[in-house]
Amino acid sequence: MSTQIPEQEAEAESSAEAEADASAESPQEKRMAKKAESASYRDAQKKAQEEIEAAERAVQLKVFRYDPEVEGKQEPRFDEFHVPFTKGMTVLDALMYARDHYDPSLTFRHSCRQAVCGSDAMFVNGQQRLCCKTQMSELEWPVRVEPLPHQDVVKDLVVDMQHFYDQMHSVEPYFQGDENAPSGEEQKQTRENREKIKMSTRCIWCGACMSSCNIAAGDNEYLGPAAINKAYRFYMDEREDQEELEEHRLRILEQEHGVWRCQTQFSCTEVCPKDIPLTEHIQELKREAVKNNLKFW
């Protein structure tokens, strides 16, 4: 992710092209293109950052606060924190600084600090982002941090993830290949097939996609992009090759609150911190479902 502004441009472009050809450019390719773009960007950015440091500016954070049992916090409010800016500071760094130096009751989930545990997806300046991999220098200041929308807030920036986990669990998110595969020997998988499922296996369960999805917001039973992607990961894995199993997986996906709910708005794909082409995967499963149903005609 280079900056907020190019990202929004990319979003506008991809939504426009999306209907025409969903697979024109994968998020991964986009990312690589962005990398080139960001190289020249970086020089300019370096300068800008040095200027910022020279000015010794403090970042202003506006943070959502709520605690169901503490007087004064029962009504949601925004608190302001002024955090000394340092080069390379992420939104998570800023939150930790505010907590450790000003207000120990400031509450948010975080752990690995390197975009793999998926704990710190939040709503930053109006978009779902992973705080640990979002640079403060790439955001417009003051930076507004809120809990993920469309989920119940437990406290401050912590949301209840249970519904997300329930949806993930509902698609039988586990390998159901041949239980009698010869022991002492691995199952074979082609490089192509591993590549086919690679992006889908990168999901870190951060919930950013689900939170960004309008459909999920309006239909609590909708499986949602992450769960469908999880099912995709197994459906497409050639090591799960029994026909019955494939049909079983499609039945789960095809139900009333499954793949057909997706209206290809691409919001999930845009916010995914792991660049998983979620919308594309959902579309592919729709095609698989159609193919499968035609078989019986």
Partner: protein, 614 residues
């Protein structure tokens, strides 16, 4: 009170594997974890899983490499068990759907790693841990194993005989982070501690914020010795600004290190004339810091790791994740420029003393994974040996706790048998002895009222933990835990780092004494019961203090240079004197150091200590 046959504390690789194994043995097992399992730090492991799968390789070679890597401080039965069980365990997780990287013929790929005589590191891109963690969590979901996620385990419930070897563990006490409820978890068969590493004792670490070594401190205060704690691995390639790990896989695939003078110093300065960048981690970390200390570093801080020559295709295929990490956390594009790297705390070789079934000297109390010291890694862990340890010893602990007959263990535990006591003079009295009131609540686990009834033991511990929490919440003012933790991290990083000097280590022990005293005045500012991370972190900080102290004590006592433990005043490995493990028992708040000989007699041969050169 919740009740299960087996309680697994921690939902990372070792915990998940233990739970699955216990479940397969027919036990009613539950996982109690302060993070949701998929948030565990196993997910950050990048490089791979060592297992002798292929023709030309065999478990004996793997065992030999591991023993050599350990600088002859691994116990042969543990090392050989790891090497023997790893292939089957790797195949097992492949059968559970693990998306390993593949060869053209569809078999799983393996690559070279530091200190290995055969390319036996099985991997899934540069995100092997992520896939391992998710694959095993999927199996936990499949089996319907109960997971209490975001429950923070504060202590185990152990009977109170004077001799720890006679104690029994009946469960644990945990706090539901979301509501603040403190509840007992009774375990009919056993409790398995799989809480990961203690990296937060240092300030530049690849470890997660959650890696506060809770399991070490809990077992230690319950009476289980901590073993070989002075052996801390500093990974040679972490990003300077954040400590984010850059996998050894980069060097395994051919990445090179150079200094500010453009020299490929591993060869040009003779640190490892044969293996170069792929020498063992301790060797490479010291080489880097020597370069920096002698003025050949970049910005007096780091060296460069270059993988550009591998080409975009190979990098994208096998190391793509590294590109993203370097870009996101250091602003560097690994395809067009070298990546700055420096050593960072990465892994704790030592840990809770267990036998090869994960069992401690306390009946019903187990440890597995990084938390445990079986001991496989001895003085230095080889890259690619942590993940097989998780699955091999996680599975064994799970099976044993569920009641499977595993035969008699060859590794002795507890303060008994062939041991000798240490008489090194500590600069200050370690432990909490002498501090009024400190840990009064936890003392219940170490002594206090005599009871044998399992339910009563758990209930008593629940009461003790409730009191402790009430006390912390009721204080109106004091010191913030974050200040205390910062002081601890600073002194550890300054004094008990890659290079250790006697005076520095003593200073760390004095600082830790002061820090303990400061902790007497710690207070929790957040008054809420709901998701009170202030409270949780405050409890964690206490655990870090106890662990950091054992690291420093071990570092002072061991006056030799072995593996990751370098002492300025003692520049050679002293096999005559030091082929033994350092153990530290808590003794009701008064730490006692003792030693047990290392076991070098393997199944078919005895491992003769040789000079370790790469």
């Amino acid at each position: 009170m919740y009740e299960h046959d087996v309680i697994v504390v921690g939902g990372g690789g070792a915990g998940l594997r233990a739970a699955i194994a216990a479940h397969e043995e027919g036990a009613d097992v539950a996982i109690v974890t302060k993070l949701h399992p998929v948030r565990s730090h196993t997910g950050a492991a990048e490089g791979g899983i060592n297992a002798a799968l292929r023709e030309g390789d065999d478990w004996e070679l793997h065992a030999y490499d591991t023993m050599k890597g350990s600088d002859y401080l691994g116990d042969a039965p543990a090392v050989e068990t790891l090497a023997q069980d790893a292939p089957e365990e790797v195949i097992q997780i492949e059968h559970w759907g693990m998306p390993f990287s593949r060869e053209d013929d569809g078999t799983v790929s393996q690559r070279p790693f530091g200190g290995l005589s055969f390319p036996r590191t099985t991997y899934a891109g540069a995100e092997t841990g992520h896939h391992l963690l998710h694959t095993m969590y999927e199996q936990v979901v499949k089996r319907g194993i109960e997971v209490y996620d975001e429950w923070y385990v504060q202590d185990v419930a152990v009977t109170d005989e004077d001799d720890p070897n006679e104690r029994t563990c009946h469960g644990c006490v945990a706090m539901d982070i979301k509501t603040g409820e403190i509840a007992g978890f009774k375990a009919k068969n056993g409790v398995i501690l799989a809480t990961g590493g203690p990296g937060q004792a240092f300030d530049h670490t690849t470890n997660a914020v959650a890696n506060t070594g809770d399991g070490y401190a809990i077992a230690y205060r319950a009476g289980v010795p901590l073993e070989d704690m002075e052996f801390v691995q500093f990974h040679p390639t972490t990003l300077p600004s954040t400590g984010v790990l850059i996998s050894e896989g980069v060097r395994g695939e051919g990445g090179i290190l150079f200094n500010a003078e453009g020299e490929r110093f591993m060869f040009e300065h003779g640190y490892a004339n044969n293996e170069g960048e792929l020498a063992s981690r301790d060797v490479v970390s010291r080489a880097e810091l020597t370069e920096v200390n002698e003025g050949r570093g970049f910005e007096d801080e780091y060296v460069m790791l270059d993988m550009r020559h591998l080409g975009e295709e190979r990098i994208m295929d096998r190391l793509e994740n590294i590109l993203h990490l370097a870009e996101d956390f250091e602003g560097v594009d690994g395809l067009v420029e070298p990546m700055p790297v420096k050593p960072g705390q990465h892994y704790q070789m030592g840990g809770v003393e267990t036998d090869e079934n994960g069992h401690t000297c306390i009946d019903g109390l187990y440890a597995a994974g990084e938390t445990a010291c079986v001991s496989v890694h001895g003085a230095n862990r080889l890259g690619g040996n942590a993940l097989p340890e998780l699955i091999v010893f996680g599975a064994r602990a799970g099976k044993h706790a569920a009641g499977a007959d595993m035969g008699e263990s060859k590794i002795e535990t507890g303060e008994r048998g062939d041991i000798e006591y240490d008489d090194t003079q500590m600069p200050v009295q370690p432990g909490e002895a002498g501090i009024s009131g400190a840990g009064s609540a936890t003392a219940a686990a170490d002594g206090g009222a005599v009871t044998q009834d399992p339910t009563a033991v758990v209930e008593r511990e629940v009461e003790a933990e409730r009191e402790r929490v009430e006390e912390m919440l009721s204080k109106e003012e004091g010191v913030k835990h974050s200040q205390i933790r910062e002081r601890l991290q600073k002194t550890m990083t300054q004094n008990v780092n890659v290079f250790r000097e006697e005076e520095g280590v003593k200073q760390a022990l004095r600082d830790i004494r002061d820090i303990r005293e400061a902790y007497e005045d710690v207070y929790v500012e957040d008054p809420s019961r709901t998701f009170n991370t202030d409270l949780q972190h405050t409890i964690e900080t206490r655990n870090l203090i106890d662990i950091a102290e054992t690291i420093a004590m071990g570092a002072l006592v061991r006056d030799e240079f072995r593996g990751a433990h370098w002492r300025k005043e003692h520049q050679e490995r002293k096999d005559e004197e030091w082929l033994k493990h350092t153990l530290i028992g808590w003794h009701d708040g008064e730490p006692q150091v003792f030693f047990r000989p290392v076991i070098l007699e393997g199944e078919n041969k005895t491992y003769e200590p040789k000079e370790r050169s790469y």
